[in-house]
């Protein structure tokens, strides 16, 4: 009996992981297919306002309330589907940008003569934190939808901005979005 329970639990976990990974992979492929990950300097919006505005919109519970008031199942389903998709794509975009910053930093570091180990460790830890936060956010969005997760998204975005500003302070302008 216990053997069956353990097998069922393991099967459930495996299925959960497969569906979750598939969901994030689809969002990543959509993001890459749209050709939007190539440039970070294609926006006038500096200081991360674009990203912050996106967080406010995608993770808005006010919009959810409005749709609920309309009381139509089709509209509600469309809203949920759209918001979930947008949130997953935003998360993938942020993850890719963070990875891009680190990649460019590694390349720049190879030829740098004045590397500070403490700054490098801080940057690496921040990157790790960003990855963990975005993975957790992606999982939460996949499970419950983006509504109500604005706080978590803003926190993850703040840490992400921290990486960008840390890079800006270190003088590697190539890794900084404008």
């Amino acid at each position: 009996m216990e053997y069956v329970l353990v097998l069922t639990a393991l099967g459930g976990i495996a299925l959960f992981l497969v569906f979750f990974l598939r969901s994030t992979r689809e969002a990543r492929e959509e993001y890459q297919g749209a050709g939007m990950g190539s440039g970070v300097d294609d926006c006038w919006s500096d200081e991360g306002r674009g990203s912050s505005a996106a967080v406010l919109g995608v993770f808005s519970s006010e919009d959810q309330q409005f749709v609920a008031e309309e009381g139509d199942q089709q509209v509600t389903a469309l809203f949920r589907r759209e918001r979930r998709r947008l949130a997953q794509r935003w998360i993938e975009r942020q993850k890719c940008e963070a990875a891009g910053i680190m990649r460019r930093h590694r390349e720049a570091s190879r030829s740098a003569a004045d590397l500070k180990p403490s700054s490098e460790v801080t940057l690496f830890l921040r990157y790790g934190k960003v990855r963990v936060m975005f993975e957790f956010l992606a999982l939460s969005v996949w499970l419950v939808g983006p509504e109500g997760l604005r706080g978590l998204a803003e926190s993850a975005n703040t840490v992400f901005r921290g990486i960008q500003s840390a890079k800006a302070l270190s003088g590697d302008k190539r890794g900084v979005s404008y």
Binding site: A34, M36, D42, C43, W44, S45, G50, S51, A53, A54, L56, G57, V58, S60, E62, D63, F66, V67, E70, D72, Q74, V75, L78, F79, E82, R83, R85, L86, R89, W90, R93
Partner: protein
Amino acid sequence: MNRVLPADARDAYHDFRVRSLGRIPSALERLIYIASTRDYNSGVYQHEGLAGRFGAEASASALEYAHWEVFQAVSSMSLRRLTEELHKYMNSSREEPTAFLNTWQRLEPYRVAIPLRADATIAELFVSNVKIALAVLRHRLPERRDRPPAALPPPSPVPQSPLRFRS
């Protein structure tokens, strides 16, 4: 703005804002109007009056900036406000609401309102919000259409004509 626009383009931008945009009541209409000044093939903005006063290049830069700015305002609107704006725009278009919604939902003409320099997520959010707002307006549509016209009474469940023939 001072950082991204040269002085002549800034003057053109202020002029355009006061003379043209100031006369358009809603943000969505302003967005559609500015997007309509952009050439579909080249992506260059053209406005004869503005170009005549400030030059083609300054005029194009001013329009591009104004487009980006208005787009930021529209895409950061709540879904409720965007739905209201779309409703006003639909009414001002003088098209039959069903025809308007069919066209907007099938052809998605609002996609051309996205500026070239828009943030990718913001652009997606805008498209998604318009889609949802259109769905909301379509959902509201039957409520208006279900009301029987005042001139016609509701149909009687009893057939009338056989009785008339009998008498």
